[in-house]
Symmetry: C2
Subunit: 408 residues, 2 copies
C-alpha cells in the first residue's frame, strides 16, 4: 500500500497557505500575484516528485509523466474565494501531489501506475467559473476567454494571463484513454460529517443548481408625498415574492433541496424614496433533476402570478443552470472500501451541495470525490478549518482507493 | 397690492439653475462649490433689492433691513438633492427675493412693512438635516456641527464651512418680535394638485415622520451545503418582516399614512452565501400624532414577535422622529383668501407629506406654506418641473397673502 507522509503533506499545505495569507485563511483569487506565485511553487514541488510540471494557457497546473501504464488524475483547485479558507480547493491539490509521491516511493504501487496531480484554474469564478476544468474537457472556447473580465475590478482575463506569463500557451485538453479516473478530495463545507461524528464522506452526486436574477419594475416616487394607493413599489413586490417563494418551496422541497436569496438591491436605495426598481439573485440546488424541474416550474409560475397581480412588472432571467452529476459507482465503492478499512463505520455516502471541478471532469472521465469534515461546517470564510488528523486520514483513504482503482 | 414681476422671477430662477446644472435639473448639495457660488449670487441680488445680505456661520443667507416696522420672513432652501430638481427649495427662496422687491417697489406695500428673504442651509441633509432652520431656532449646538460629516464623502462640516469662507461667522438666531410670520412656498412634490386640477395648495399640517434602521443577525453559511433546517438566514427574516409590516400597517393606517422601506442590504450579498446579516431602512409618516404612536407601537411589537420566533435576532434603532406641525390658522386663511381671489375654486387645503423648514421655524414663529403643482408629481429627480404660469401665480398669491398678514 502506498503510504502517505502526513508530516510532509501538512508542511506543504502550510507552505502554500503563505501565498496570500489573510488572518488564518487565504486571499488568493485566480491569477492574483499570490496565485501565480503559488502555481510556480507547486510546479517546483511537482518536478521534485519526478513529474514534468506544465502550467497551461488558462493557468491550470498539471504534473505529467511520460511513463506508460495506468494513470489517475488527482487534484482540485488552488485558487480561493476572496479572504477565503486555507483548505477549500488546495487541500485536494496537495493530496494529488502527495499521492504522486507516495505511489512513486512504494515499489508495488509504482508498478500499478502513476498519479498525475492537477490544480484547476479559477474554480471560484474570479473570471470564469470552472475555467480550468471546463477548458480541459473542451467546454470553453477562445471567444469566451477573450471576453471575460475580473468580477472584482474588470481586468480582462487575457491581460491577467499575459501578466502571469501564461498567455499564448496551449490549453491542455482531455486525452481519451490517458487516465482511468479523476479523484478529487475536498473539505465538506457543511456540518453533516461533524454532526454525525463521521470522518469520511463518499460523494454520490454533486447537486445541480439553477441561478436566477429577478427584476422588479415599479415607479420611483417621493416617500412622503405619494399615497399608498398610487404606489408601484418595487421593493414591496420583491419582499412579497420572497415570502411566496418561502411558502411554496417549503411545500414542494425534497429532503435535500436548498434555496437562497443571496442579494437584494433596491434602486435608488435611499430612505425617503419609493424604490422604482428592485433586483434579487436567487438560486436553488438539489441532487434530483426532477425536483429541480419542479422548482423551476414553481418559480416561473410564482413570478408570472405576481407580475399579473401587479402593480410591478417582474421578469426572471436565468444566469446559470447545472445538472446534478452522479459520481462513478466503482470509484464510490473503492472510496467506501478504503474508508471502511481505516474508520470502520466512521464514513457515510452523501451528496455534495457545493459545485466542484469533479462535476465538470465527470462529463468525460469516471470521477469520484471524497469529503473530510469542516469544523463547525464553516467555509468560504478565512476561519475555515479541519483537524490535522482528518486531513492526513483523508489523504490515506484517497491513496488506498487510488490503488484499488489502478489495480482493477 | 404689490405686483410680482413674473419675467424677473423666472429669469432669476433660470439663472440660479446654472449653479450645478444637471440635465434639466440641478446638482447643488449644501456647501458644494456650486452651492457656495449660488449663495454669493443670491447675496448680490439681495443687495440690489435694497437689503443687507448676510451669510451666516452655517451658510444660511438672510436679507436684512434696518427699517423699523412690521417684517415677514419669506424663503425656503437653495441646496438640492444629488442630481435633484431645479425648483425643490430654491423656488421658495426666489419668491422671497421677488416679494422683497415687489413690496419695495409698491409705495402702499412698502408702507406696510418689509419682506426679508431667507435661504436656509442644508435642508436636504448633505451634512445635517434642516441645518439652517434648526440653527436659527437654537435647536442645534456647536458640538453637533463639529461632529457632522458629509453623507457623501465623509468631509467634516467644519472643513466644508472653512473652505466656503463661512467658518467663524455668527449663526443668525431667531429674534422674538422681529417677524410677524414665516412664509414658505414649495412645489407640491406629489400629484394631488395636478390630479384634482388645482393650482394652489394651502398647507394645513406638515406630517410627522419616524425613521428606523432594522438589523437582522443570523448566521453566514454556504448556500449549497447548509440544509434549510440548520439555517439562520437574515435575508429570509427581513423579507418576512417586510410582508408582516405590509399586512399589519395596511390594517391600522389612517387615510394619509404612508410607509416605505427605502433600502435593503444583505451581507455579504453574494449569490452562493446564506446572508448572515441584513439591514433595512424603514419610515412612516402621518399628519396625526395618534396614528404615528399607533404605528410606532405596531412596529416595536412586530419586531419583538419576529425576533422571539427566531431564528434571527432583530433589533430596531430609531434614526429620527419628527412630530406633525400644524401651520398657523390665520396664515392659512390669508393664503386661502389670496388663492380664492386669483383662481376661485382652483385651490385646496392639504397636508404636506414631505418635511420642510417651515415645520422647524413654526416652533418659534407663526408659519404657513403654499404649494404649487408638480408636473406628474415628480420631485427629488432632475426631471422635476412646474408650468411657468403656475410659478408666477404662486408668487402673486404669496405676495397677496403677505400683504394681508402685514396689514392685520
Amino acid at each position: 500500500m502506498p503510504k502517505i507522509d502526513g508530516k510532509r503533506l501538512l508542511a506543504d499545505l502550510n507552505r502554500i497557505r503563505d501565498f496570500g495569507r489573510y488572518k488564518t485563511g487565504v486571499h488568493r483569487p485566480h491569477l492574483s500575484p499570490q496565485d501565480v506565485e503559488s502555481r510556480r511553487w507547486l510546479s517546483d514541488r511537482i518536478r521534485e516528485a519526478g513529474l514534468e510540471p506544465v502550467i497551461d494557457g488558462v493557468g491550470s497546473v498539471f504534473g505529467r509523466s511520460s511513463r506508460p501504464g495506468a494513470k489517475l488524475l488527482v487534484g482540485s483547485h488552488s485558487d480561493t474565494q476572496p479572504n477565503g479558507g486555507w483548505l477549500d480547493g488546495v487541500m485536494g491539490v496537495i493530496y494529488g501531489l502527495e499521492l504522486a509521491r507516495a505511489f512513486n516511493e512504494d515499489a508495488q504501487a509504482r508498478a500499478l501506475g502513476v498519479i498525475e496531480p492537477v490544480s484547476w484554474a479559477d474554480e471560484e469564478s474570479a473570471y470564469l467559473s470552472f475555467l480550468g476544468s471546463r477548458s480541459y474537457i473542451g467546454e470553453i472556447v477562445d471567444a469566451e476567454i477573450s471576453g471575460a473580465r475580473s468580477r472584482d475590478d474588470g481586468t480582462p482575463l487575457t491581460e491577467a494571463l499575459e501578466r502571469a506569463g501564461f498567455a499564448g500557451r496551449p490549453r491542455i485538453q482531455f486525452e481519451p484513454g490517458r487516465h482511468k479516473a479523476y479523484l478529487e478530495a475536498h473539505i465538506e463545507q457543511g456540518g453533516v460529517l461533524e454532526h454525525e461524528k463521521k470522518r469520511i464522506g463518499v460523494v454520490t452526486t454533486i447537486v445541480g443548481s439553477h441561478q436566477y436574477r429577478i427584476v422588479f419594475e415599479g415607479q420611483q416616487n417621493h416617500a412622503g408625498t405619494t399615497p399608498m394607493r398610487l404606489r408601484r413599489d418595487a421593493g414591496v413586490a420583491l419582499t412579497r415574492l420572497c415570502t411566496d417563494i418561502e411558502t411554496r418551496f417549503a411545500a414542494i422541497a425534497g429532503p435535500h433541496t436548498v434555496w437562497t436569496t443571496g442579494k437584494i438591491q433596491l434602486t435608488p436605495g435611499v430612505p425617503s424614496i419609493v424604490p422604482g426598481e428592485a433586483e434579487m439573485l436567487f438560486q436553488y440546488r438539489d441532487p434530483d433533476p426532477n425536483i429541480l424541474t419542479r422548482f423551476s416550474d414553481a418559480l416561473v409560475e410564482l413570478v408570472a402570478e405576481a407580475s399579473r397581480r401587479g402593480p410591478c412588472r417582474i421578469t426572471v432571467e436565468r444566469r446559470s443552470r447545472s445538472t446534478p452529476m452522479a459520481m462513478d459507482a466503482a470509484v464510490q465503492d473503492a472510496l467506501e472500501a478504503a474508508a471502511r478499512r481505516h474508520v470502520k463505520d466512521g464514513w457515510r455516502r452523501m451528496h455534495s451541495g457545493a459545485g466542484h471541478d469533479a462535476q465538470i471532469v465527470a462529463k468525460k472521465l469516471r470521477a469520484g470525490m471524497l469529503f473530510i469534515p469542516s469544523i463547525g461546517g464553516v467555509s468560504h470564510h478565512w476561519s475555515e478549518d479541519t483537524a490535522a488528523e482528518d486531513i492526513v486520514l483523508g489523504a490515506q483513504v484517497l491513496a488506498d482507493a487510488a490503488e484499488t482503482i489502478l489495480r482493477n
